[in-house]
């Protein structure tokens, strides 16, 4: 599914940008796992987006965390475009992007599927 084909260079770019839009930030590995993408392809596109100034990154420990560049000149129109693309995504993907558990869970407490 590549809604912004013709505007963005690659489907992976669209997925990365939508992930960062909804979740605020993300690590390359987590983004790749979420969409079941190739980690290498994801890192390559993240590097391109960073080179183009669309995203920025910072090191958190040994990991690199990405977010949309708040100084990107066209951030607002980009967000509107991504929101429009997101509206066309399946409900399941929207739900998984949005309804992620962020509150801490005790180490060792088993994670079980909801009843």
């Amino acid at each position: 599914m590549f809604i912004l084909r013709g505007i963005l260079r690659a489907e992976t770019q669209e997925k990365i940008l939508i992930y960062l839009l909804v979740r605020g930030s993300g690590y390359g590995k987590a983004i790749a796992e979420f969409y079941e993408l190739s980690p290498n392809a994801t890192q390559k596109q993240l590097a391109r987006l960073e080179g183009d100034g669309v995203v920025v990154s910072r090191l958190v420990g040994k990991l690199r965390e990405y977010q949309l560049n708040p100084r990107y000149a066209f951030l607002q129109p980009l967000k509107e475009l991504l929101k429009a693309a997101l509206a066309a995504y399946p409900e399941k993907v929207k739900r998984e992007l949005t309804m992620t558990r962020n509150r801490p869970r005790q180490a060792g407490k088993p994670v079980l599927p909801a009843r």
């Binding site: 839009l21 909804v22 605020g24 967000k79 991504l82 929101k83 997101l86 509206a87 409900e91 929207k94 739900r95 949005t98 309804m99 992620t100 558990r101 962020n102 509150r103 801490p104 005790q106 180490a107 060792g108 407490k109 088993p110 079980l112 909801a114 009843r115």
Partner: protein
């Protein structure tokens, strides 16, 4: 050997709490199962979280739990016949920066269950949403609010005390919208929140 294979979670919670009470160990139900009870099964969980308010040492809890077939694995108590696990989050009972001094006992089919007040369950979930941007917690808070009123002034004061005064108006608006649409399932409330979240991006 205690077999809980077919024991519903609320019944199991009542059994555990009742057994601990026989050892003078007082516990209060918190967490996801408290949400499940107050949301009237809109939200479902596999965890029983009990705060030990009589401050019994871990050895006493281990002993009592072992008598009903639950053994410690890491930080939780498990039994091989069920996926349900029991945990004892640290006392004291608190939500945000507030110590909780009032709790209640509710009557469920399986018996009586000592539990947080509904308003404190709402606050607990809202605190998780405020501080971790945990959307599922917001959904759970709204699910409980759909069944149990919380005083508006109290809700506003809580938002302010958590440093989220600006969130109060948003939460009130969400609550009113949900009431108006009479949404009654977790999925409906989630779908509503997802839509709102995306609109506000």
């Amino acid at each position: 050997m205690s077999d809980y294979k077919d024991t519903p979670i609320i019944q199991l919670a009542v059994t555990v709490a009742g057994h601990l009470q026989q050892h003078d160990i007082r516990v209060i139900l918190v967490g996801g199962l408290a949400v499940e009870i107050y949301s009237e099964n809109i939200y479902l969980t596999n965890d029983i979280d009990l705060v030990n308010t009589s401050y019994h040492p871990p050895a006493a809890i281990n002993q009592a739990m072992s008598e009903i077939g639950f053994f410690k694995r890491g930080r939780v108590y498990v039994n091989d016949t069920t996926d349900i696990c029991v945990e004892f989050p640290s006392a004291p009972l608190s939500v945000g920066d507030e110590l909780i001094e009032e709790t209640t006992i509710i009557e469920v089919d399986a018996g009586n269950m000592p539990i947080l007040l509904a308003r404190d369950v709402i606050k607990d979930r809202l605190a998780a949403y405020f501080h971790w941007n945990d959307k599922p917690s917001l959904v759970q808070a709204l699910a409980v609010m759909s069944k149990h009123a919380i005083d508006t002034a109290e809700l506003q004061a809580f938002c302010q005390s958590e440093g989220k005064a600006d969130e109060f108006a948003i939460i009130e608006q969400l609550r009113r919208s949900l009431d108006k649409q009479a949404l009654s399932s977790m999925e409906d409330i989630e779908t509503f929140i997802i839509r709102q979240t995306i609109e506000q991006l």
